[in-house]
């Protein structure tokens, strides 16, 4: 197969980037998308150029490192598929493929296709945990958790932190990412004790980082490679509003982390 690749090149965070076009030929349909870029990079390096920089590690859709904006969609055309799981058999011979980094104020470009997602980290620092010290846990089966809720919590916890939801959203909102964590803990008894402060702090941190508001267009769910459901956003909103109501009682929920 032959393709024309239009790829975003940007030397560093300060530089102004632009698209460059690269023809690639003899691509096998069995190659994954990133193997195809490896193949192109090898040719670029061997002819004295600088390879395209992109992020990756596991190449099996679980670490959340990779993430390219392909033909106007985060992670490309296939639903529930990360960039590294995408294969060239999904494209047609001769096609022009446009490849860009995530675009969001909260994810500044570092180089070529690599962006800085540390804003996600800070949202997690704000409340993405249950406060329990090593050694203080009770016997695991002493607290039964309904299978239904536990399975739902798992579905929420399957988020890989890739940032596609932000890239897919016209407001660059990170609510699907945050809601997944908030919902995971809100659904199980272990997470209840600090549920209200958690949602409060994580939402505040999203604002601070410059992520936009949610206007319910659901582009995030559509492009999320793990199929994280927007139902979790509704759950988060419920948590958030009830946390606001409880805030009226002074001092009651102002425990330190």
């Amino acid at each position: 197969m032959d393709f024309k690749l239009k790829i975003w090149r940007q030397k560093n965070a300060q530089a102004k980037g632009s698209f460059r076009t690269y023809p690639v030929s003899d691509v096998s349909p069995e190659m994954s998308f990133l193997e195809m870029i490896d193949y192109l990079n090898k040719q670029i390096i061997e002819s004295g150029g600088e390879p395209i920089t992109f992020e990756q590690d596991c190449r099996e859709g679980i670490c959340g490192s990779c993430g390219l904006y392909i033909n106007g969609r985060p992670h490309g055309p296939m639903r529930r598929t990360t960039t590294c799981e995408l294969h060239m058999r999904e494209f047609s011979d001769g096609e022009t493929i446009v490849i860009e980094p995530w675009r969001s104020k909260a994810f500044p470009v570092i180089k070529d296709l690599v962006v800085d997602r540390s804003s996600f980290e800070r949202v997690m620092h704000a409340g993405g945990f249950i406060s329990v010290d090593t050694g203080s846990a009770a016997e695991a089966n002493s607290l039964p958790v309904s299978k239904h809720n536990s399975d739902k919590a798992f579905d929420a916890a399957a988020c890989i932190g890739c940032g596609a939801c932000v890239a897919a959203c016209k407001n660059s909102s990170a609510v699907l990412f945050a809601a997944a964590k908030i919902a995971q803990y809100a659904l199980i008894p272990q997470g209840k004790a600090e549920a209200k402060e958690r949602v409060d702090r994580m939402v505040k941190q999203m604002d601070t980082e410059g992520f936009g508001y949610c206007s319910n267009t659901y582009g995030c769910e559509f492009d999320c490679p793990k199929g994280i459901s927007v139902d979790f956003i509704a759950l988060m909103n419920r948590e958030f509003f009830s946390s606001k109501l409880c805030k009226q009682i002074p001092g009651k929920y102002t425990r330190k982390v």
């Binding site: 560093n12 096998s28 069995e30 190659m31 490896d38 193949y39 990079n41 390096i45 061997e46 004295g48 600088e50 390879p51 920089t53 990756q56 590690d57 596991c58 190449r59 099996e60 859709g61 679980i62 670490c63 959340g64 490192s65 529930r80 799981e85 294969h87 570092i110 180089k111 997602r117 540390s118 980290e121 997690m124 620092h125 993405g128 945990f129 249950i130 329990v132 010290d133 090593t134 050694g135 203080s136 846990a137 009770a138 016997e139 695991a140 039964p144 958790v145 309904s146 299978k147 536990s150 399975d151 919590a153 798992f154 916890a157 932190g161 995971q184 803990y185 199980i188 272990q190 982390v257």
Partner: protein
């Protein structure tokens, strides 16, 4: 010469850890605040250790090469995590878990360490549950378990086929809590390139900031390596592409002994190589062998579609050869059996290098929904990669490089031979002998990080309460920094024609062919020669575009490959020295009449720990004799 002292405490096996721990010294809360600890690695081992040390009140600095600690390769573990809870009432116990691991490791691990790992396994499950890790549950709300290879009880806790991800997100959440509190400072996007030793004690590390290329000094009172495995030495493996040996290797070159480097597990069920541009193999969890049946056609070169091959023309070779364990034999046995069938000409697929893993019977018996519930994400992953729907036709699988039982030698305190340098998780050698049983690595990583290291490191640090901050201006830091900078300069200045990946690929092939699933003296020697030649070519023809003062992924790769040449040679050296077959280490010269591994306990019941002797000198072998007081050494039979 340093004497290898494993520091295994006296007393009955079951009381060793309890009594030893009670005697360990403590550091007072006020003094902990003055003590800094570096943890390199944020996988299960590293993030568990760092968060626990932070909770205790130490000042912790944590490093990883990814942009976030959540992306450490522990995230990719699929099948599960063991614990001796005996929730199924199937007569499981700490002793039985210990025994299974010792036997599974083919009697090449330390009894005391393995027992301790089994002992703390239950605490790990309790802690994860409290952290909100969504393990699979039964309808009554209690935790579910499943069986895994090499054992006859059901003790593996799981979260679909994403157990590693869920456990890692658990340790990551504890880490985040400490980062928010300010006890832990996170340094992502750093490659650790050297350790710094001052007056005989480990006092810091040298890192390269992967965004700016800056070489940085970081000091501390002790350093913990939790840098994972080096299966990427085979190029094609189930590890993440950034996985490396470099951190452990830099410690080796500074005097830390490297134990059993050739003990490397080849996992039986990976998706086979599909094209020539592949740089990574994807694992299909061992848990699939609970319900999947492995077979090849009875007829050589049978090219029929698998669903057209009738039942009586299929050879379920694991069930045939090992009736007691069937498809659930340990990994080393299953891998060799697959290779044996393929080498004999019965393999399937275009290359003849794969076998079938079939769910037809399980689906017929349990229904597609039940199978989807258990393995949904794995089946999906398989279909995405191969384009084949495994609910309709069998998967094709083949063995792939997976897990390194070998690693930095540590004593009972998890300290290496360099004072103040600790190694935990997959980066050390301690608990899996010559073969790891499924679901026991996550267990060991978490046990090391949460429950063992925090105690033993405190005992070590009790001597450091008056030391004060370690100055980064010390001449040892300067020297180490210069070493690193010189090496980078040297590699950048080659300006050759070939890429780091193309060298890595060739190196991997040498290792796979000469130091892989089956080894012999001649092949190992040949492998070492080939590595030497290729290494020479590398240092005269490696091409790294761009500069070292920016984000430069080619430089990152090249530095790792450069170390793999040396690691590969040590692996061959170790495999050559071990004139027996045990676990994953199979020497053609040492097998039984039926082709099983033949151990030689009279000569090789030891840990082979290698000491660096200089760049071009042969490393020196030290032996730590293994004593077995609680298990009887037997031929490992799964028949």
């Amino acid at each position: 010469m340093q004497k290898l002292d494993s520091k295994i405490p006296d007393g009955p096996l079951a009381d060793k850890w309890k009594n030893y721990k009670a005697g360990l010294r403590l550091v007072s809360p006020a003094n902990k605040k003055k003590i800094e600890i570096i943890v390199v690695g944020t996988g299960l081992a590293g993030s568990a250790a760092a968060s626990s040390l932070g909770e205790l009140g130490y000042k912790v600095k944590v490093f990883c090469f990814q942009d976030s600690p959540r992306r450490a390769h522990s995230v990719a573990a699929q099948g599960g995590i063991n614990a001796a809870k005996n929730y199924r009432n199937d007569n499981d116990s700490v002793y039985r878990l210990f025994h299974d691991m010792i036997k599974g490791g083919d009697y090449r691990a330390r009894e005391a360490n393995v027992y301790r790992a089994a002992e703390v396994s239950n605490d790990v499950i309790d802690h994860f549950t409290a952290l909100g890790v969504p393990f699979a549950r039964d309808y009554g709300g209690t935790l579910d378990t499943r069986s895994f290879g090499g054992v006859q009880v059901s003790r593996t806790f799981y979260a679909k086929g994403q157990t590693g991800q869920q456990c890692l997100l658990g340790t990551y959440s504890s880490l985040n809590r400490q980062i928010a509190k300010g006890t832990v400072k996170m340094y992502p996007r750093r490659d650790m390139l050297d350790i710094v030793i001052i007056d005989g004690k480990t006092r810091g590390i040298i890192t390269r900031n992967l965004l700016t290329g800056e070489i940085e000094r970081h000091s501390a009172h002790a350093v913990v390596l939790a840098t994972g495995g080096y299966g990427t030495v085979f190029y094609l493996s189930t590890l993440g592409l950034g996985s490396n040996a470099s951190a452990a290797w830099s410690a080796f070159k500074k005097g830390a002994f490297f134990a059993n480097p050739s003990f490397i597990q080849i996992h039986p069920t990976s998706i086979p190589v599909l094209n020539d541009y592949q740089c990574k193999l994807t694992l299909m969890s061992e848990s699939l062998r609970n319900d999947g049946r492995v077979w090849v056609p009875k007829q050589k070169g049978d090219k029929r579609h698998p669903v057209e091959i009738p039942e009586d023309e299929r050879d379920y070779y694991l069930e045939r050869r090992y009736p007691a364990f069937g498809n659930l034999v340990p990994r080393d046995v299953a891998s060799r059996a697959a290779k044996e069938r393929c080498d004999a000409g019965y393999g399937v697929g275009d290359t003849g290098l794969s076998v079938y893993l079939d769910f037809k019977d399980a689906i017929a018996k349990q229904g597609e929904d039940k199978i989807r519930d258990k393995y949904g994400n794995l089946f999906e992953m398989y279909e995405k990669i191969t384009g084949i729907n495994p609910y309709r036709q069998p998967m094709r699988i083949y063995p792939a490089g997976h897990y390194t039982m070998g690693g930095l030698w540590v004593d009972y305190n998890l300290m290496t031979t360099i004072p103040g340098l600790f190694a935990i998780g997959e980066s050390n050698f301690s608990d899996h002998g010559a073969n790891r049983l499924g679901a026991s690595s996550l267990m060991q990583c978490c046990g090391d990080g949460y429950f063992i290291l925090p105690n033993t490191i405190s005992d070590y640090l009790a001597d450091d309460i008056r030391t004060g901050k370690i100055p980064e201006e010390d001449k040892e830091f300067e020297k180490a920094e210069k070493n690193v900078s010189d090496r980078i300069k040297r590699i950048m200045s080659v300006k050759g024609k070939q890429t780091a990946s193309s060298f890595h690929k060739r190196l991997g092939k040498i290792m796979w062919d000469h130091c892989g699933m089956r080894r012999d003296a001649e092949g190992l020697k040949k492998g070492m020669e080939l590595l030497k030649e290729l290494e020479k070519e590398f240092w005269s023809d490696i091409c790294i575009p761009g500069s070292d003062r920016e984000l430069n992924q080619e430089l990152e790769k090249a530095l790792k490959v450069a170390d793999f040449f040396e690691v590969g040679r040590l692996m061959c050296e170790d495999a050559l020295q071990r004139e027996e077959s045990c676990g994953a280490h199979f020497r053609e010269e040492h097998q039984t009449e039926t082709g099983e591994a033949k151990r030689d306990d009279s000569k090789f019941a030891f840990v082979g720990a290698w000491e660096f002797q200089g760049q071009d000198a042969r490393p020196k072998l030290h032996r730590e004799e293994l004593e077995f007081k609680y298990v009887e050494l037997k031929e490992r039979s799964y028949k």
